[in-house]
Subunit: 403 residues, 2 copies
């Protein structure tokens, strides 16, 4: 893909989501991304569902659609980093690169003699982990849920009368990936635009990404002793505000807490008499009678399909959102106009719609990523082309199981 | 603050969260950030809770801790952009800047003659909005909940037997902010390192940021017709895995779906006999008997405080996380070691702990942002210093209500 980072090369040593996502975002800005995978196995994302049934060499097999998204926009080279020959090849590849992204447990690259100290200091090395590169928990195993747990986002999400609920996607993985991409490009800016000459080693911990977006939670404890917890969809000091059920089994989120929006909503519901009810006169009154006013709004939404609720709210300038499913997105005029669902040509599964690169640049086409590569699809091209290995050398490496 | 973007200047025209957060992240990488606020009112974040009681000119008043976090790391200049004199001064300020970040409804800057077409094309202009700069919904009002609603994240979060639940923080705001910061620095890289000369206009929509991280949701609908929905904390194909209650009223998330982690968990619980139970032999067996095995784990956690559950799991290398509150973070050795809670010196409220800038650079101190500025605190310094306005001119502007 073309883009502002064209000409830069990124080595993606990551598995699962956070680190490969970071590398992929650099790719969506124009960098070349080469994924390094363990021979035979490859990224774990290749093995988790949902699966599409495709023709394989031994008949029908399952192809991971999760991999199809997270693996896109890069080439795949197999290299056994647990072996010296693989480590040597990696160091040679890194000498041609600008960024390395990895998410092994802290210390693993060093054990393999391919840590930042073994590589050119001009490299930007992005190290993603659950708990960071140092500290008492740094060697603990972790996953996205560990990130949202320690990072405090888990405890804030859900209903007060139930256990906290995870965010529906692996949010600390994605957050960490994009924060790390931002920091990596900033480091490249210093190196190449300000000519600092040096790279940087970025330490991005899953729990830290969640913590960074925790709003006022930390100072409110420090200065008020307030231990924030989850509130569901409503807020104690604002109403009406909730996700309301509709006649067609969907949910619409209506945000009409402010006096101005409440008046607009009354017009949208054609219930202007509510404005004369002293229980709903001001924000504080409505908050006090939150169950009543939220109940009245729910009664209205229950009689209508989501599209009709939306239309009435939009006509009166009330903030509204249907809780969209993929089916809603595929049918939506705005998504179609904006080209939010791009067709990616997957080498195994053929064309499939995926979420577009984000954000976009005004006046430029939304770039379309290449499909997720087959395991080792580019091993020979990359090791031959970039490192000048001969066919015979490549055959030997393959025989030895190094690639 | 020093950092890789030192020497760059960012004008923050934003209000609320997404756009100011984007500007602040550029600041945490070293750029100078100047916030432009409406005289008299300023950013809405100054007016929302939770509030700390402080001494004001007219006695006790409430100071927004949300503002203290989101407003940090920048100076404040008041400027009425609805008036020609304010617009003129803004264009002169923009001529000294590298980045402008804004989140007015699309078309507003143009109406005020300060849109990208009125400014130097070398600028990077980040435009954040609910629905993007074009398309049928672009003029609709919106907020974070609209972003997660249309972006599909809302529908995926929560329990299957309840309405979808919002993520506990304004996640589409934060996500959009960091994606936009990444894109802005990439555009600066092209301009200054690759000497493309030109800036860029970045169109970042709240719903698009949520959509981008939707995992496999889009292709699964496209190729399998699968309409994904929320699953709570458990997964249909994996167990044990849940947020379990503890004796001290907390919740611990334990992830032990895989055969290896399940065996470790049985050791942690000192219930090795479970490994011989055919109902729990393999992942698929445990998934089939998910209620039973999750119930057994919950029975164990209910007898222990969260710290003891954690300790037992960590000793056996089982991924575990307590759903941390702020109180847990303040008491945590890892947070202390890593310096995750920095002391920011707020000009109104004095020192307070806040979440640290993220991510960090290995070998460098975590930078400490300056406290959130008082409204217009730097108006005279900036307009005098950068634009060379005289004291008399500044007095006149103040009298006219332009600043």
């Amino acid at each position: 893909m073309s883009g502002p980072l064209e000409g830069l090369r990124v080595l993606d040593l990551g598995t699962r989501i956070a680190a490969p996502f970071c590398a992929g975002l650099l790719g969506e800005q124009g960098a070349e991304v080469i994924k390094i995978e363990q021979p035979g196995a490859g990224d774990f994302m290749r093995e988790i569902g949902p699966f599409l049934s495709v023709d394989g060499p031994d008949g029908e097999e399952g192809y991971s659609l999760f991999w199809a998204v997270e693996g896109r926009g890069r080439s795949s080279v197999t290299l056994d980093l647990r072996r010296e020959a693989g480590q040597d090849l990696f160091r040679r590849l890194a000498a041609t690169a600008d960024v390395v992204v990895e998410n092994f447990r802290p210390g693993t690259l060093e054990k393999w003699h391919i840590g930042p100290g073994d590589l050119d200091p001009k490299l930007v090395v992005v190290r993603i982990s659950s708990f960071g590169q140092d500290g008492p928990y740094s060697q603990r195993p972790g996953l996205d849920r560990v990130g949202i747990g320690y990072g405090g986002l888990l405890n804030l999400t859900g209903y007060p009368d139930r256990p906290p609920v995870r965010v529906g996607v692996t949010i600390s993985d994605y957050l960490t990936g994009v924060f790390a991409a931002h920091a990596a490009v900033s480091a490249l800016y210093a190196r190449d635009a300000r000519r600092s000459g040096g790279g940087a080693v970025i330490d991005a911990a899953l729990y830290g990404a969640a913590l960074r977006i925790l709003e006022w939670t930390v100072p409110a404890y420090d200065r008020l002793g307030l231990v924030r917890t989850r509130e569901g969809n409503r807020l104690a000091n604002s109403a009406p505000l909730d996700n309301y059920p509709t006649a067609d089994g969907k949910y619409v989120c209506i945000v009409a807490g402010s006096d101005a929006n409440f008046a607009r909503l009354c017009r949208a519901m054609d219930q202007l008499d509510l404005l004369d009810d002293p229980r709903f006169a001001k924000l504080a009154d409505r908050a006090e009678h939150g169950d009543v006013i939220n109940g009245i709004v729910a009664e209205w939404t229950r009689r209508l399909p989501a599209a009709a609720v939306e239309e009435a709210c939009v006509a009166c300038d009330v903030p509204v959102a249907t809780a969209y499913t993929a089916a809603d997105m595929f049918a939506d005029a705005h998504f179609a106009h904006r080209g939010d669902l791009v067709e990616v040509d997957d080498p195994v599964a053929g064309p499939m719609r995926q979420q577009a690169p984000f954000p976009r640049v005004v006046g430029e086409e939304v770039p379309v990523p290449t499909g997720a590569p087959r395991l080792g699809e580019h091993t020979r091209d990359v090791l031959g082309g970039l490192l000048g290995l001969s066919e015979a050398e490549l055959d030997q490496l393959a025989d030895d199981g190094v690639v």
